[in-house]
Symmetry: C2
Subunit: 199 residues, 2 copies
């Protein structure tokens, strides 16, 4: 049926291109659009073009922004001596939700994965090095995942920044709060043991 109606089919295909949207969901979304008023549909279409046009990388930290600087870099109360290095913007969002971190960020836009062609020059490492070289930075916290790529990236950054004599730390890995130790996987338990602290 949808194939009879070209413009509905086309819209469903467009939704289907979004990450995590299957064929059935895409069709359901296309029907949702038909339930909108004309004004709502135009507003929706404009939001897409708007976001695409206005959003760009913050020239300091490579985070996304629709202003000159991103919200964090523009905030004068943030501590510029600490940079938290993350793989993507979604990690920035997660970190900001904690409302505990008061430093700045640096978004790499990926993690090292030579087998997939993600070599150091593909990441925003040069920009990080330049920021650190300016001299105000005292600590770089690497907040990449605990998988092979994340660990490799953390190691690479530690080695890259070593000559500059600043502290490079890594987020702690261990047992999630609320998780039974009994059900924790071996690797996590190993990391928790390694990172044990005085009580």
């Amino acid at each position: 049926m949808a194939e009879y109606i070209e413009s509905l089919q086309n819209l469903a295909e467009q939704f289907g291109r979004l990450s995590g949207v299957g064929r059935k969901s895409a069709l359901r979304m296309a029907f949702s659009v038909l339930d909108m008023t004309d004004e709502e549909a135009v507003e929706f279409a404009r939001a897409i073009v708007d976001a695409k046009e206005k959003i760009h990388l913050c020239p300091v930290c490579m985070n996304l922004t629709d202003r000159d600087l991103c919200g964090v870099c523009a905030d004068e109360t943030r501590d510029r001596s600490t940079i938290c290095v993350v793989s993507d913007v979604k990690t920035v969002i997660a970190m900001e939700k904690v409302r505990e971190y008061r430093g700045t960020y640096h978004v790499l836009h990926g993690v090292l994965s030579p087998l997939n062609g993600i070599t150091p020059d593909k990441l925003r490492l040069k920009e990080l090095l330049e920021r650190v070289k300016e001299g105000t930075v005292k600590e770089v916290i690497v907040a990449t995942n605990a998988d092979v790529e994340g660990e490799t990236t953390a190691m690479y950054i530690a080695r890259l920044l070593r000559p500059l004599d600043i502290k490079v730390t890594r987020l702690a890995f261990g047992i999630s709060v609320g998780t039974d130790i009994e059900y924790t996987d071996e690797v996590t338990l190993f990391r928790a043991l390694q990172g044990r602290q005085d009580v």
Copy 2:
């Protein structure tokens, strides 16, 4: 974070208005848009406005279409003596997938539900009555769901068309193909028993 970037936040809210899309999915979709090229984003936006502008109800059967008539009504090989009455366009899509039904459709755009204010005048029943009165229709198959609203609607249509002396039938309800009888719920089993047929 997303709240720092107004246009991203706005786009995520637009996605969040679509049926079945939660806050997290909406944000993920908004990020997907940022990963598109400018041309892709414009194409997406255009597809929304296009679908909304071009799609309207088929004047014969109230199905959706972006032509003069819907695909089924425009198809001269379809049997105009049979009308399958459905509650919405999605049922038409489901029926068409079977590739077995060669008659036409009539989309009610809802089912009777007086408690929710859906009275007969809110559905496309007048249009159905007019089509049947023209005289070429011999059978009306009511394909509404087996719930209270669906049954009420089927009953209403049967009574509405009775004076016109045409056959009004209802889709068979029973055990789904591939389902164990052991696990079939009582109501379905009751319907299956009622509808039993000679072997």
